[in-house]
Every structure is written in C-alpha cells, then in structure tokens.
Symmetry: C2
Subunit: 345 residues, 2 copies
C-alpha cells in the first residue's frame, strides 16, 4: 500500500507550539483548555505561536488521555426524514458551542443494523448516547445499559427508559387523533400506516395506530379500517398507495395517517380521483412537516417540535455531563393539535 500523495508535512503538535512559544507543552495545554490558568503574558505568546503554526489540537489524543472524547452519538432511523434531520440540527445547536461533536449513525429502520451502528459508535467512546427507537434488540439494549455514559431515548415515551427519555407519547398521538376525528362527526374512521412485518419497521408509527385503535373502540366505533400497507421508506408513495387500498375497501369519512408526508401522498391521490378534501374525506396527519404548511389545502396535523427535542436533549446532556442532576428521567414535550384545512370545523 504505497501512498502516491506528497508526504504532507505532519500537522504541528503541541510540542511544536511549546517550542516556538518557549514554554512547556503542559502550559500550552492549559492555555487552550482554561486560559485563566496562565499569566497574560504567557497566554499571548502561546496564542501567537498557535496562530503562526496554524495549530489545531488533536482531540483524539486529548480524549484518550482525559477519557472525554467530546462525541455524542446520535442514532436515528433515517436522515432523509426531515424530523430526524431537524432533531440532529437542534442537538448540534445545543451542544456544539460546548465543544461536543455529534456522531450520527443511521439504521435505516433496520433492527439488525441497529447493533452494527451502535457498535461503531461505541468504538468512538462517546460521552453520551442519544437513540431513537432502538429498544427492540436485546443485545443493543445491553450494550447501551453497559456503556457507562448517559443514554437518552428520544421521539418516544418508553414505559421504562434505559436511562433518560425526551419525547412524547406516540400512543397519545393516536388517541388524540381518534378524539379529534370523532368530534368532527366521522363514524367510519380509518388509520393508515406501514406494514408491521419484515426487517425494517416503524415502531413509533405502529404505536400511533394502536392509540387510534383504542380511541376508536372507546368511542364505540369500528376499528376495521386500520390498514398496514407498504414500506416505511418512501412515505410519499406510501400515502398514495394506502389511500388507494382504502378506497378499494369502500373508503372512509376520515383518515388518520402516521405522518404528514403520507397525508400529502393521500391528498394527491384524492386529487387524481377528484375526491374533495375535506368535503368528501377528512385527513389528519402527524408531525407538522413543512410540506403540510405549504400545500393546498394545508394539512391538519398533530404536531411535535423536532428541533426542540434535539435542543432539550442537548441541554439535558450538558447538565448531566457537567455533573449536575438532570431532573426527571422522562421529559415529555407533549403534542399539539393543529386544525387546518384537511379537516372540517
């Protein structure tokens, strides 16, 4: 394995800086870690040397020594889902100013991949781990529990969190959906979500439909229109296909879909078939995606704030990593009903 590139003079080290500034490496380390510990004069000399050499500390080496890497593992099912991209953005915003670097792992909704990704994260010795919907594999649960660092489960409200949780109850979303549609006079109410078999599953989506089912039963309504259909990925297509399947089974007065993306797909299917929304059928989604705010008609939805989930998780972790108490084990950010134009008054 010969390297064809020019030998690339090695990056300067703390030793180089210390020589140039005429101090010991230890003093350079202090200057960078906590400038208040060195005299003003020394600090100036060190910083000038850092500048002149273009020195960038090697945090890998620092982490090895201090046993704090500054990494925060973030494991999500998908980055293409804007909800998780938003959460990643919120987490980054909260933690980067304190020097933490998110390490993003994507599982593709696959239970098998979960463990592979988690292992890759653990090999980087993160200071904290944030996971979304990872509690299905026992091996993964064990790895997490034994990691010896704070673990936060997000986008969920587990009965018994491994450590902490920041999110909301997906089950409650489904129940609220049922209540909302019942209150709007619908009696034949459908629920559309992805199928529940195979390697890749959307457990949170299933949880919402479970809430819907219980809500409908409680209202004395039938729950025979809760359909599981198609793959979790490509959610746009899912909405259109699921709507088609529903129509073939006779349709419904109101439909709850597991995400706004799916609602959009269903909406387009309705347009193609000249079915009027909300006059002929009411649609209710989940997630308050940007697309639902922009399309015509605007999508009624049950909202959570994905950026806030990331931000609150970041704040919690900063506190925990500073050695403070983090407060409650479970932070429930709640859900919000946004009635717009795909439901009737």
């Amino acid at each position: 394995m010969s390297d064809p590139r020019p030998p690339a003079r090695r990056a300067p080290t703390m030793r180089d800086v210390s020589r140039l500034a005429g101090v010991s490496p230890m003093t350079v380390s202090r200057t960078l870690a906590d400038p208040g510990l060195v005299s003003q004069e020394t600090r100036a000399r060190v910083l000038a040397a850092v500048e002149q050499l273009g020195y960038v500390p090697d945090r890998g080496a620092g982490g090895l020594s201090s046993r704090r890497t500054g990494f925060v593992a973030l494991i999500v099912p998908s980055l293409i889902n804007p909800n998780f991209a938003d959460t990643a953005t919120g987490l980054t915003a909260a933690m980067r100013p304190r020097g933490y670097q998110p390490l993003i792992g994507v599982t593709g909704y696959s239970v098998a991949e979960e463990e592979v990704v988690l292992r890759a994260m653990l090999s980087r010795r993160p200071d904290a781990i944030v996971v979304s919907g990872m509690h299905r594999s026992q091996a993964a649960r064990d790895l997490l529990a034994r990691a010896g660092v704070p673990v936060v489960e997000i986008w969920d409200r587990p009965e018994t969190p491994i450590d902490r949780a920041v999110g909301f109850s997906n089950y409650a979303v489904g129940r609220l959906a049922a209540r909302t549609l019942v209150a709007r006079g619908a009696t034949r109410i459908a629920g559309l979500g992805p199928e529940r078999t195979g390697e890749a599953r959307d457990f949170r989506g299933e949880e919402r439909l479970r809430g819907l089912r219980d809500g409908l039963r409680e209202a004395g309504l039938a729950d025979d229109l809760i359909l599981h259909h198609g793959r979790v990925a490509g959610a746009f297509a899912h909405g259109a296909e699921a709507m088609t399947a529903l129509i073939e089974r006779g349709g419904a007065e109101a439909v709850f879909l597991v995400s706004d993306i799916s609602v959009f797909g269903a909406l387009m299917e309705c347009r193609r078939r000249s079915i009027r929304v909300p006059q002929d059928v009411q649609l209710l989604g989940f997630g308050d995606f940007e697309i639902g705010r922009q399309c015509v008609p605007r999508i009624s939805t049950i909202a959570v704030d994905p950026v806030e989930i990331g931000r609150r998780t970041g704040d919690l972790l900063i506190r925990l990593l500073d050695g403070e108490e983090g407060g409650a084990a479970i932070i429930d950010l709640g859900i919000r009903l946004l009635l717009r134009e795909t439901t009737r008054a």
Copy 2:
C-alpha cells in the same frame, strides 16, 4: 465537578482480552485487524474472549497510533435539504462497510460558520474531507489545502478544484433550463432564486441563474425577470413569495426556479390564484426531489442523483485511501432533463 453516576466499570481493553485469551495484546490486535495472520486456534480463543467481555476496540486510541482515524469529514450547508441528506446517505453506504465513519458538519450556508466547522472537523484528524460549496473563505481554502489528506468538493464543478471534485455544473443546469423553456415557445422567461446578499448565501443556486441568464441572452431574450428574493432556507416559502413578486411584476410565460421545493411553493401559489400550470405558466425546477414526483401536476425538473454523488465520492475516496490512483481530478456526473407535467410539450 463531581460525577453523580455510578462509577461505571471501565470498558474492557485489549489488555483484558489478551489476559483472558492467554495471549499478548499484540496478538489480539492482529486477530481483529487481519484474522489471517494468526493461527486458527488462537483466533478462536481471542474471539471467544472478545465475545465474553463484550469488548469493543477503542478506535480513538487505534487512530492515534496508526495515524488513520477512519473518519471522513463531510461538510454540507444543511441537513434539512434532502439533497444533502441523500448525499450523506450515499457516502455512508459506500464507506461504512470499509470501516469509515462520516463526521458530519453543517454550516447553515454561512461563510463564517464554515471555518468554525472545518476546524472542529480537523481536530478529529479525518482521513479525508468532503466539502460542498466551501470555497469562498480564503482561510478555509488554506486549511483544506494544507490538511494533507484527500479533499473532494461535491455538488459543484469548480474551475480549479483544490484536489478532486465530484458533481456537475450548476451553470450548465441554468443553460439547459433556458434552452428547454425557449424550445417550448416561451419568450418571457423568468428565473427565481434567493437573494445574493447577507451572511448566508446559496452560491450554487446563483450559479444556476447565471447559466439561465446567459442562455436567455444567447437566444436573444430579455433577462430582466431574473429575480433574487428571500432567504435560502425555508425554500417552500421562498417559491410562493418569489412567485408572488413575479406576478406583481406582470408574470411570465415560463419560470425556472432554483429547486423543486421552490417550484412546489410556486405551484401552490398558482393554485391559490387559480393560475393554471402549465397552461398559463410553465414551471421548471431543479433537483428531482421526491415531492416533485408525487405532487399534482408532477414537476418538470433537471435532475442530478444526490445519492450517486455520495456513492461515487465514497468509491473515489476508498481508492485514494487504499493508495491507488483515483483517476480524473473532476468527475462530472452530468444532468438529466425530466419533462413532466409543469411544462408543455
């Protein structure tokens, strides 16, 4: 700074594994790095010990020693833009099987943030750096050029790449847009993109409009309808607002917008105003976003394959990091015209 959590028995080290297996740490290292180097019997004993202890190697320590961290820095303007999320997914898919871990940095389209993020990445000593539209700050350029590792610029076709480039010509996109709309009989052709001032700029979008302008001039048409309007973020809203501005200036026969997301926003604005697409106005976008394939009417667009950009970049880097020649400095993946329903035949 007292730590309230239980002392968390430290993760097992290679030393622990070696003791349990009755071999030297060096043999454990070899077993894990290249199993063919040790005898079958030894390998079995070592792997059993690894399994029993739940040992996960510390790649931070390994990287310090081997001077290969296995990190690939990926710097993008935004993760919320599905194009970049797709590229990240493609890059991950190509490189993770070889043990590389992407390190994602997000600049928020901000030139100032670029350098901060780049510095954070460099402190992790990545084996390669992938950047998207980072060539605007001289300090950042210098840092990249002196990093001593392969650098790939993506989503662009720079005149003089820092090292390598994988992408396509945004300028060519604009010219193709002009040609396409001219060929469809339009004479009053507009171009809508975000404003060109302020800290956060979408340079690639501007480049597309520059191509459009030149294309229009070449066809002998006016270019006075090329409007820069609103912020780059929140592209849905951008499309609607820009379309409104255009209509207030008298409208156009055909409009090129810098992304399909913007086209969607414009399309919704047209629906609100009962302007028919494509009968009253033709719309052409860029990016072939999922939403453009699903909405009604389906959006005509100039497509690139974002996942492919990531994948090809990953393949190139694997070759370079294996010490092979990488081939051409610039890989142009080309663009594809997809005529759908927002343009006329």
